[in-house]
Subunit: 337 residues, 2 copies
């Protein structure tokens, strides 16, 4: 019998990848990267500082080293990688651990029901018993994790949206489904001539106002309370709808795009950003799995390709449509009324 | 504000990797690869055959394409990759989906408690209420998943153990902690001059005997019932202890190696195979995470480096020690009495 010529590594690596996710989630939850942002620590000091038992500590930190989320030097002290320090230190404005917390607390346990979701075609989240978002928004601790997670996601999109849209041509903007206002704050920081704000369900108001005030933009960014399923959108020269459309079924997607068109003034702009699926539906792992996440979490949501979005925006009346890449995962479509 | 120069991709990919694991697990559970082993299918046919709802079907199969676990051709039909066909078709003797089922049913939900395991240093599995293995072995459905999983693991190790050990010098062997006998069957298939069998707890007997008989080796492979914590090991010229030592604390590891030494005849050989941690403890993601798995699952288990193992085997009396790589993850140590 010969040693097989087909290596199983690709399969076994995917099969064990969930362990890597959880090691990262626990490290964020326990504050490993925040602790190390102030300087390197040896095993005993790091273990004591984040409050874990001796038994698993060395394996845990060395797993993070092997995953290239930490470094361990010849002096046997652990330190952050440049990426970990930038994105996973809670004290930095570039922190994206909120999204990882959201994945940890909600995504991971709900994904255990993927097979049931596939068999039934029905969500396995709170949406089983009603509307996903009204349930998320009615529980303070769930809302906390959710809005922090959305802010982390907005931070990833912000640099590209700031760089690749002609903000100098406009004076006002509203972020629809803004959560804490993560994106408006970054836009306001980059362009002092802009005013605007965010639109979201009423329970989000105190979280938005606290976040915006803490960042020093309370004079330029306002919260507009409402439900985009039933209420009109606020008026502004630029509307942004980001990581929102994928939560909804096709009719609701179209209704929201039409509602945005109707709210905008002539020559106003709509920005839609999302993890779009490649047009061949063969390459974008993250977007296709995000669509399965919508199956598990929502009643009718799904992700889509840039071609799909261009079609729907054209149907709604938008012209001069184009797509810009924001990150390796996120893209935005821009359309003009 | 400039577009950030530090890409977040490495972090966000690890953070979402659990979704990829679950997509693979559901595909194995639903029999996607087994269905496609008989030929390509279009979306509707594959969806009907594995019995899932329309809503998530296309995203699910296209996710598997993006993950390079399936291919989709220009005729829009899905087919297995060479790897998926070899390892994930239930009807093939090279099937390793049992290990993925084991990860899905037991590993994934238990890993949700990683933070608690780290804080307390205590297992979060059945072992919370007693000995992990006596509990696993007392529940038929758990034992079923467990033994199938172990067989898949043994299949990955078998080609290397067959190729890199001088089996022609020996006549008898026993696999300690054999489960269904996955490894003895492959060794017996490769070397017709060998006889031997496997040693495991009594509830495993019918599963071992059924598996060995189905593979046609009932005349050459026997089951030996016992508990290696309290009973002596069966006699044979070669003993194998594979993916066993990592389940136990240091004293038990040493006791088992000494017990193996005492059971062997002069010039007998011990093979220990495991996912060993690299000596620098910086590179082997899979082994370090396997050690955290032992934290979550067992009372005292941990994974170890080849240098650790060589030390313990030397202490037990073995000589002529050497290490051989079996796969990208698994290695074996061989020692002579």
């Amino acid at each position: 019998m010969q040693k097989t010529m087909i290596p199983p590594d690709h399969i076994t690596q995917i099969g064990k990848a969930f362990r890597a996710s959880k090691a990262l989630f626990s490290a964020v939850e326990l504050g490993v990267f925040t602790a190390l942002a102030s300087g390197p620590r040896d095993l005993a000091a790091l273990q004591a500082e984040i409050g874990i038992a001796e038994r698993g500590a060395r394996d845990f930190f060395d797993s993070l080293v092997a995953l290239k989320l930490l470094q361990r030097d010849e002096d046997e002290r652990y330190r952050n990688t440049p990426e970990s320090d930038h994105y996973l230190d809670r004290e930095k404005p570039t922190y994206i651990g909120g999204e990882l917390d959201h994945f940890n607390k909600r995504g991971y346990p709900h994904w255990h029901s993927l097979t049931t979701a596939l068999k039934t075609g029905k969500p396995q989240s709170l949406a089983k018993a009603g509307n996903y978002f009204s349930d998320v928004y009615s529980d303070v601790s769930v809302l906390e994790t959710y809005t922090e997670g959305m802010t982390s996601g907005a931070r990833l999109a912000a640099p590209g949206i700031i760089a690749h849209f002609p903000w100098n041509r406009y004076r006002t903007f509203i972020d629809v489904g803004t959560s804490q206002g993560g994106l408006p704050v970054e836009i306001a920081r980059a362009y002092p001539h802009l005013t605007g704000g965010g639109f979201d369900l009423p329970p989000v108001r105190p979280r938005f106002e606290r976040y915006v005030e803490r960042n020093g933009f309370f004079d330029r960014l306002r919260f507009h309370a409402g439900d985009f399923l039933s209420d009109p959108l606020p008026e502004a020269e630029v509307l942004i709808i980001g990581r929102v459309l994928h939560n909804w079924d096709l009719n609701t997607k179209r209704m929201l795009l039409k509602k945005a068109y109707n709210s905008l003034p002539a020559r106003g702009a709509l920005i839609v950003y999302e993890r779009m699926i490649d047009d061949q539906r063969k390459a974008t792992v993250s977007s296709l799995l995000a669509s399965l996440n919508m199956l598990i979490m929502t009643e009718g949501g799904f992700d889509y390709t840039a071609a799909d979005l261009i079609n729907w925006m054209t149907e709604a009346g938008f012209r001069d449509l184009h797509i810009e890449s924001l990150t390796s995962e996120l893209s935005m479509a821009v359309g003009i009324k």
